[in-house]
C-alpha cells in the first residue's frame, strides 16, 4: 500500500474565516494538520513610515486604522506616549472619559472577536447577536465622537469634546435606553447580553466540544512567544498592564483580572474574553459615577498648534483589547516624529499559529485563529 501523501492547501487570502486577508499555508494528512504557516503582508499600509512625515496630531487618525476594531485604545496609547514625551498634564475629566471610552471599546472589540469566532464555528446567530450589541455601542460612540468606527476623538492632552448632554443617563436606565445612554447600555449588557452569551454559546455542549482541549497553550510557551492580553491570561498568567504597570488612572478603579487554566485552550480564551467584558462594564460604571458627580468642561489643556516635543524617546505599554500595544516614539525635536514603532499584539499572537495548529483538525484551525483574535490591519500595519 502506498504511503499517504500530505495535502498542501492555501487558507486565504480569500477565505471566509481568516479575519481579513491572511494566508495560511496548511499541510494536511487526511484532515489532521501537520504543519501550518501564516503568510502576512497583504494589508501593509506603511503606517510607521507614514507617521514620520506627519505632525504628532496628524498621526492619531492613522493609529485608528492599525487595529481598526479597537480604535480608541490605539489613540489612547499614542496620546499617552506623546504626553509622556512632553510631560503634559491631562485634565481629570478627560482621563475619565478616555478610560470609559477605552473600556467600552474593549467590550465592542471583544464582542466582535467572540462573535467572529462563533461564526467560524458555525454559530451564525451568536455572531449576529454580537453585531446587534456592537451596533448599540456604535450609536453611542457616534453621538460622542461623530464617528462610528474610526473616531479621531482623543487629542494630545485630552479629548476633542466633552460628552454630549444626557448621554450618561442614570443607573436606572434599562434595555429600552440601551442605545441612548451609556448607563442604559451597561445595564442591558450586564443583565441581558452576558447571560444570553452564556446560554447560547458558553454552556452549549457542541460549542464546548469544539473548543475545550483544542490548542492548549502552556503558560511558559505563551510567555516565551511574547503573548499578552487575553491570550496570555487564558494560559493562567495573571498579567494585566492596567494592574501590573498602571497607566492613566487605572489605579483608581476596582476590577479583577480573569485568568484561565495552566494550559489554556480555545475555551479558556473564550471565557477570559467574556469575563473581561464583565470587568470592563464594571470599570465603565465606576467612571460613569465619577463623571456624573463631577461635571465640568475642562477636557483639554491649551497647547501650541504645532507640537515640538523635546529630543528623546519614550516607550509606552498599553493594555489594548487584544494584548499589549507598545508605542516607541523617538523625537528629534522637530514637528514630526523621528520614528514611530508600533508593537502589535496580533502580530505576536499570529506566530503562535504554527505552534498551536499541528496535530489538530482543519476545522480546529479556524477555532484557533478565532480564539487568538487577530486583526490583520494591526498585524500588517
Amino acid at each position: 500500500m502506498e504511503q499517504t501523501r500530505e495535502l498542501l492547501i492555501n487558507m486565504g487570502p480569500q477565505h471566509p474565516s481568516t479575519h481579513g486577508v491572511l494566508r495560511v499555508l496548511v499541510k494536511l494528512d487526511g484532515e489532521t494538520i501537520t504543519w501550518a504557516e501564516p503568510d502576512i503582508g497583504y494589508l501593509h499600509r506603511c503606517f510607521e513610515k507614514l507617521s514620520e512625515s506627519k505632525t504628532y496630531t496628524q498621526v492619531i487618525p492613522y493609529t485608528d486604522r492599525t487595529d481598526y476594531l479597537s480604535a480608541i485604545t490605539n489613540e489612547h496609547a499614542f496620546c499617552l506616549a506623546v504626553e509622556k514625551l512632553m510631560g503634559i498634564e491631562v485634565p481629570e475629566r478627560a482621563e475619565y472619559i478616555r478610560v470609559m471610552m477605552a473600556e467600552l471599546q474593549r467590550i465592542c472589540s471583544h464582542l466582535l472577536g467572540l462573535g467572529a469566532m462563533a461564526l467560524d464555528l458555525g454559530a451564525v446567530t451568536g455572531f449576529l447577536y454580537a453585531w446587534r450589541d456592537r451596533e448599540k455601542i456604535y450609536s453611542l460612540f457616534e453621538r460622542i465622537t461623530g464617528g462610528r468606527m474610526l473616531y479621531n476623538y482623543l487629542r494630545i492632552g485630552g479629548v476633542r469634546n466633552d460628552l454630549p448632554e444626557g448621554i450618561i443617563g442614570t443607573p436606572k436606565d434599562g434595555r429600552d435606553k440601551a442605545d441612548k445612554t451609556i448607563w442604559g447600555f451597561i445595564n442591558y449588557f450586564e443583565s441581558y447580553v452576558l447571560p444570553e452569551w452564556d446560554d447560547l454559546l458558553t454552556n452549549n455542549r457542541i460549542f464546548q466540544w469544539r473548543t475545550q482541549g483544542v490548542a492548549p497553550l502552556p503558560s511558559e510557551v505563551a510567555i516565551a512567544y511574547g503573548a499578552s492580553g487575553p491570550v496570555l491570561r487564558a494560559s493562567g498568567v495573571k498579567w494585566d498592564l492596567r494592574k501590573n504597570v498602571p497607566y492613566s488612572i487605572y489605579d483608581r478603579f476596582e476590577f479583577d483580572i480573569p485568568v484561565g487554566k495552566e494550559n489554556g485552550d480555545c475555551f479558556d480564551r473564550w471565557v477570559v474574553r467574556v469575563e473581561e467584558m464583565r470587568q470592563s462594564a464594571r470599570i465603565v460604571k465606576q467612571a460613569l459615577q465619577w463623571l456624573a458627580e463631577n461635571p465640568g468642561d475642562y477636557i483639554a489643556p491649551k497647547l501650541p498648534r504645532v507640537l515640538k516635543p523635546p529630543k528623546g524617546e519614550v516607550y509606552i505599554r498599553y493594555e489594548g483589547s487584544r494584548g499589549e500595544v507598545g508605542v516607541h516614539l523617538v523625537s528629534d525635536g522637530s514637528a514630526n516624529p523621528y520614528k514611530v514603532k508600533w508593537r502589535s499584539p496580533c502580530f505576536t499572537h499570529l506566530q503562535l499559529l504554527p505552534v498551536l495548529a499541528p496535530g489538530h483538525k482543519l476545522a480546529d484551525m479556524i477555532a484557533i485563529i478565532g480564539s487568538i483574535d487577530i486583526v490583520l490591519g494591526e498585524v500588517d500595519r
Binding site: 495535502l7 492547501i9 477565505h15 471566509p16 474565516s17 494536511l28 484532515e31 462563533a118 461564526l119 467560524d120 464555528l121 458555525g122 454559530a123 451564525v124 446567530t125 451568536g126 449576529l128 447577536y129 446587534r132 447560547l200 454559546l201 452549549n204 457542541i206 460549542f207 466540544w209 469544539r210 483538525k361 482543519l362 476545522a363 480546529d364 484551525m365 479556524i366
Partner: protein
C-alpha cells in the same frame, strides 16, 4: 384513445404524477427557502428580506433570477464529465423519494411494498453525486468536502435505517401507507412518536446529518471549506445543488411525519363533537378526506422543517471526528437498543394482552 384509457397506462400516469411531484417539490423548495430566511431572521433579531414583495416573498424569485444570469463556468482543470453530470445525479434521488410518500389517504404515487427499503436504496445515489461533484472539481476544498460528505452520509445512513426499523416492527409492514393506517387505528396518541421516541430522536439527528444541515453541515462548512463539494459550481448548476438540498429536507421531513407523526391522519372539522357533524357534515367523502389528509401531511411536514431550521440557526457546527463518534459510538448503539426494546416490549404485549394481568399495562404503549 380516451383519457381514461390513457390514464390506465402506467407510463402516462407516471408522467402526470411525476410532473405534479416536481411542481410540489419546486413549490415547497420556494416556500422552504423563504421560510428559512424569515425564520433565521426572526431568530437573529432581524427582519430578513422585506423589499421584494410583501414580507420578501419574491426575494427567492429575485435570487433565482440573479442565478439565471450567471455565466456557466466550467473550470479548466476539472474532470469535465464528472463535473457536468453531478447535478443531474444529485437531482434524481431527491425526486424518487416522493414516489412512496403518502400525501393523503389515496394520494400515493406508487405504493410499493418495499417503500422504506426503496427510500434507503435511492438515497445511496446522493452519496455518489456528492462524491463525484467534489472529486470532479479537482479542488482541494471540494475533495475534502466530498470525503467528509461520503463518510458522513454513509455513517448516518446506517443509523437512519436502524432508527426506522422500530417503526416497521410496530406496523409490520414496509409500505408507508400501511404504516400510516396502522397509526390511524391507534388514535392520535398512538402515533409512533411515543413508543418510538428514541427512534424519532435518532432519526431527527441522523436526518440532519444526512441532509448536511447545520450543526452537521460539514461538507459545505463555509468557514472551513469555503463551499465544500460545490465550491466550483456557479450559476444554475449551483442552484441545482441548493434545490436538491432543500427538496431532500422536505422529503426527509415528510417521511418523518409519515413514520412518526401519523402522516395524513388528523382531525377534520366533522370530528368536532356535537356541532361538527351538523355544520361540517358535508365535508366528508373521498375528496374531502384527501384535502384534509394533505393539509395535515403538509402541516406536520412543515412543523418538522421548522424544527430543522430552528436547530440550524441555534447550534455551532460539530467537528468531523466528533460527528463520526456521535454516529458510530452513540447513535448506532442507541438505535440498536431501540430495536431490542421494541422487540421485547412488543413481544411482551403480544403474550400478555389477553391474559388480563396488570403487568400488561407496562407494554401497553407498544401494543
Amino acid at each position: 384513445m380516451s383519457l381514461a384509457d390513457l390514464w390506465a397506462q402506467h407510463w402516462f400516469r407516471a408522467f402526470v404524477t411525476g410532473s405534479l411531484v416536481l411542481v410540489f417539490a419546486l413549490g415547497n423548495f420556494y416556500i422552504t427557502l423563504w421560510l428559512e430566511r424569515k425564520e433565521s431572521a426572526w431568530i437573529q433579531n432581524r427582519l430578513g428580506p422585506m423589499r421584494a414583495g410583501p414580507q420578501g416573498l419574491l426575494q427567492v424569485l429575485a435570487d433565482l433570477f440573479k442565478l439565471l444570469q450567471k455565466e456557466d463556468i466550467v473550470p479548466r482543470n476539472v474532470d469535465r464529465i464528472l463535473f457536468l453530470i453531478a447535478p443531474f445525479i444529485a437531482h434524481i434521488p431527491a425526486l424518487l423519494i416522493f414516489l412512496v410518500v403518502p400525501f393523503g389517504p389515496n394520494m400515493v404515487v406508487a405504493d410499493y411494498d418495499i417503500g422504506i427499503i426503496m427510500i434507503a436504496a435511492v438515497t445511496s445515489y446522493a452519496v455518489i453525486a456528492t462524491f463525484i461533484a467534489g472529486w470532479g472539481s479537482n479542488n482541494k476544498y471540494s475533495l475534502l468536502g466530498a470525503m467528509r460528505g461520503a463518510a458522513q452520509m454513509i455513517s448516518y445512513e446506517v443509523t437512519l435505517v436502524m432508527s426506522v426499523i422500530g417503526v416497521v416492527m410496530m406496523a409490520g409492514s414496509l409500505k408507508l401507507s400501511d404504516i400510516v393506517l396502522a397509526q390511524a387505528e391507534r388514535g392520535v396518541l398512538g402515533w409512533y412518536l411515543f413508543p418510538q421516541f428514541i427512534g424519532f430522536i435518532v432519526y431527527l439527528i441522523a436526518s440532519l446529518a444526512e441532509l448536511n444541515r447545520a450543526p452537521f453541515d460539514l461538507m459545505e462548512a463555509e468557514s472551513e471549506l469555503v463551499a465544500g463539494y460545490h465550491t466550483e459550481y456557479s450559476g444554475f448548476r449551483f442552484a441545482i445543488f441548493l434545490l436538491v438540498e432543500y427538496v431532500h429536507m422536505i422529503a426527509w421531513s415528510a417521511i418523518a411525519a409519515t413514520l412518526f407523526l401519523g402522516g395524513w391522519v388528523g382531525p377534520t372539522p366533522a370530528d368536532i363533537p356535537v356541532i361538527g357533524p351538523k355544520l361540517f357534515g358535508w365535508m366528508t367523502g373521498p375528496v374531502w378526506d384527501n384535502v384534509w389528509g394533505f393539509f395535515w401531511f403538509l402541516f406536520k411536514t412543515y412543523l418538522l422543517i421548522f424544527i430543522l431550521i430552528w436547530i440550524r440557526w441555534t447550534f455551532p457546527r460539530v467537528r468531523i471526528d466528533q460527528l463520526m463518534d456521535l454516529g458510530w459510538k452513540f447513535l448506532l448503539p442507541v438505535s440498536l437498543f431501540n430495536i431490542f426494546l421494541t422487540g421485547v416490549m412488543k413481544y411482551g404485549w403480544n403474550v400478555l394482552a389477553e391474559s388480563g394481568s396488570p403487568l400488561r399495562w407496562i407494554f401497553w404503549l407498544w401494543r
